[in-house]
């Protein structure tokens, strides 16, 4: 009884807003939302959702807090950057203080083909706070496959764009942008154009507003448009979203093409990952790892007939960061010992990750789930050298071996 009275008090101004009312607020309290990315957009979106009182918020992010995030990523502070906390962890800690009534699940993980389905398995809506086209297309596939709305948002410079894509009503992101992942090349990002905080908040606010409409049963109020906005050279433009493309596998009624079948086949690993996730769900501690990696190792994830080292490297959002998967069996403590031994300086060490500075000054970040980031390497070839020199079991100890490539 007391709890209900408190909720009434907490949400009183939101309930007074007629389109939401008591019914809308109750729906919100029963809703589950996935926020992908806990960076600028993601942290803001998560905050909107938690303050508004969703029942459950699942937050997933692959990055950690750095000083250069603080001018726009409103949930984080200097202590988080100093401690190099994973964004998902730091955000969850703040959000729990904001609203203890919301069930918050935070995952330190890279969202990929193998864990996306599991992450979206039991949510009502997905909010996009990612920083790359590839993950967005993946989220689109998953959302349209499951029939849940995806609220896209992107920012760069002083503006951005957003749209709520509703399966059944609109075409999917893949249809909007083209069948193939055209890559992020040419797509402006915070690294190419810079970014100002007001641009982030504008886009996040618009995303959050659409999410609130969808979650409180105000679907008729949804904009149904693709909106671009600029906070500096002020402009707002919106265009009607197109209907589903009939031939599309995701938003229409298309048959899988050969290529799409291969994609689907790759997703078989979902089932098991989903089990893993629901297993974790029963626990009380929510700051789980969710690497999406099979316990057997990485082989399943590799492209058929190609296990070259280069395939393991993923460039993160053009910000001089490369990501790769290590053997998950090696603990952070063991990595700490190995890296120190080979001359690295440990610059951060917490239960989620280890950060070390190489002799040459690049940074290696190893997450507990076995994922590594190499920062400051400049080129992929150099990042591979660092991998071979510091992180690969077979080549690590032969440090005097002449380096390959440039």
């Amino acid at each position: 009884m007391h709890k209900e009275a408190e909720a009434e008090e907490r949400y009183s101004r939101q309930i007074r807003f007629a389109p939401i009312g008591v019914r809308g607020q109750r729906r919100l309290g029963e809703a589950s939302v996935l926020v992908v990315g806990a960076g600028a957009l993601g942290a803001s979106l998560a905050q909107h959702m938690v303050r508004a009182g969703v029942g459950r918020l699942r937050l997933v992010d692959r990055d950690y807090v750095e000083l250069s995030n603080l001018h726009r990523q409103t949930l984080f502070d200097e202590e988080d950057a100093e401690a190099a906390l994973p964004k998902a962890v730091a955000a969850a800690a703040k959000l729990r203080r904001v609203n203890g009534g919301v069930r918050i699940e935070a995952f330190v993980a890279d969202v990929n083909r193998r864990n996306a389905e599991a992450l979206a398995a039991d949510v009502d809506l997905v909010l996009d706070g990612t920083d790359n086209t590839e993950t967005r297309l993946l989220l689109s596939d998953v959302c349209f496959g499951r029939g849940i709305p995806l609220v896209y948002g992107g920012v760069a410079g002083s503006g951005g764009m957003t749209a709520l894509l509703a399966p059944g009503d609109h075409c999917c992101l893949r249809c909007l942008l083209g069948e193939e992942e055209t890559g992020s090349e040419g797509a402006p990002t915070c690294d190419t154009l810079g970014v100002i905080s007001p641009a982030v908040e504008m886009v996040a606010a618009l995303q959050a507003a659409e999410a609130l409409k969808a979650l409180t049963g105000n679907r008729a109020a949804l904009r149904g448009t693709w909106l671009t906005v600029d906070a500096w050279h002020f402009s707002v433009k919106e265009w009607k979203l197109p209907s589903p493309v009939e031939a599309c596998l995701y938003c229409g009624w298309g048959e899988p093409t050969a290529a799409a079948s291969r994609e689907l086949a790759k997703n078989e690993g979902f089932v098991r990952t989903e089990d893993d996730l629901s297993g974790e769900d029963h626990g009380d501690t929510a700051d789980e790892d969710l690497s999406g990696e099979e316990p057997e190792g990485e082989t399943e994830n590799a492209l058929p007939g190609d296990d070259s080292e280069a395939e393991k490297l993923v460039v993160l959002c053009g910000r001089d960061t490369f990501q790769l998967m290590l053997k998950p069996s090696v603990s952070l403590a063991e990595w700490r010992r190995r890296l120190t031994e080979i001359g690295c300086v440990i610059t951060a060490d917490n239960r989620y990750l280890l950060r070390a500075s190489t002799v040459e000054g690049e940074r290696i970040v190893i997450f507990a789930e076995g994922r590594a980031l190499i920062q400051g390497a400049g080129e992929a070839e150099r990042a591979l050298d660092i991998y071979r020199h510091y992180l690969n079991d077979e080549t690590r100890r032969r440090a005097d071996e002449p380096s390959v490539g440039v």
């Binding site: 083209g178 797509a187 265009w239 197109p242």
Partner: protein, 302 residues
């Protein structure tokens, strides 16, 4: 001239390059391929023969809505009702040619250094030739001016200039990179078994450079596009608005328009008259005169 001279691909006759094929046949193939200005050059024939050739070519070029230029001889240009003359540095001065031809006919002149280009511009030439960029059999013994002069002309000269001399499909990119936006070829086109496809390929390269420059602007996209094709009677051209600017295009579909801005490989959202068009449907989305198109780069940051 009633309107500014606009062309991209200049073709000059060279009968010695296509023995066994008639000039009319070869030039028609070039026109089909998109050549949009033609010059009759023939240093061998008598004036009487030249007039006949010029008249036949005029008929042909008129059919394609393309101007015909006569090399060296204003009198023949007048007699055959050609659209203009092209002069060498040692021919009649521009002012004298203008007196003969009047204000409406085109006068072009070959230049080999920037001083000549400046003088031609001052004297009221409608366009200049810049070359020979590479050593060429058409002008044996002439020192090549290289792309350095092309770059100079691009930086300084305001009237249309056309790069000429030894230009082929293989080196066209280099000339365009130096700043040329109009190319002229003789042997590479008329000496080829398939002048039509050579022209098409050259034009494609020219278009890529002309439009690529504008499409490279990131945030608010296109921008002014020099869709400066001459009025071609056999090609449909429409007026439209692209990202807020009035443009003309021969593109029939949204996909063709996107290709003109070199947007094929990029993450771009297209809006036509207030509604987003899925990328897959660009190819089957026709453009109507007066329509409004916006292309915006998909924003990736978060």
């Amino acid at each position: 001239m009633s309107r500014p001279l606009e062309f991209k691909l200049y073709v000059i006759t060279g009968e010695n390059y296509h023995p066994g094929r008639s000039m009319a046949k070869v030039m028609e193939a070039a026109l089909r391929g998109g050549a949009d200005i033609v010059q009759l050059r023939d240093k061998e024939s008598s004036k009487r023969e030249l007039i006949e050739k010029a008249k036949r070519l005029k008929e042909l070029t008129a059919k394609y809505g393309v101007p015909l230029i006569v090399n060296d001889h204003p009198d023949i240009a007048l007699a055959a009702d050609a659209d203009g003359v092209h002069l060498g540095q040692d021919d009649l001065p521009i002012e004298a040619a203008r007196e003969l031809l009047g204000p409406r006919r085109i006068i072009g002149i070959s230049t080999h250094r920037i001083e000549q280009a400046r003088a031609a511009e001052r004297a009221g030439a409608d366009y200049i030739g810049v070359g020979p960029v590479y050593p060429t059999g058409t002008k044996p013994g002439r020192q090549a001016v290289t792309t350095a002069y092309v770059a100079q002309a691009a930086a300084e000269i305001r009237i249309p200039f056309v790069a000429i001399g030894g230009i082929t499909e293989a080196n066209a990119e280099e000339v365009l990179r130096a700043g040329a936006r109009r190319l002229c070829a003789v042997s590479a086109i008329v000496g080829h078994a398939d002048p039509e496809s050579v022209c098409r390929n050259l034009l494609e390269k020219i278009n890529a450079w002309s439009l690529g420059e504008q499409a490279a602007v990131p945030a608010s996209l296109p921008i002014s596009v020099a869709l400066t094709l001459p009025e071609r009677r056999n090609v449909r051209e429409i007026a439209l608005t692209v990202n807020g600017r009035s443009e003309r295009t021969q593109a029939a579909t949204l996909l063709e328009l996107a290709a003109q801005y070199k947007l094929e490989g990029r993450s771009v959202v297209a809006d036509l008259d207030g509604a987003v068009v899925p990328r897959q449907l660009w190819g089957e989305t026709p453009l109507q005169g007066g329509c409004s198109v916006e292309f915006v780069h998909f924003v990736g940051g978060g």
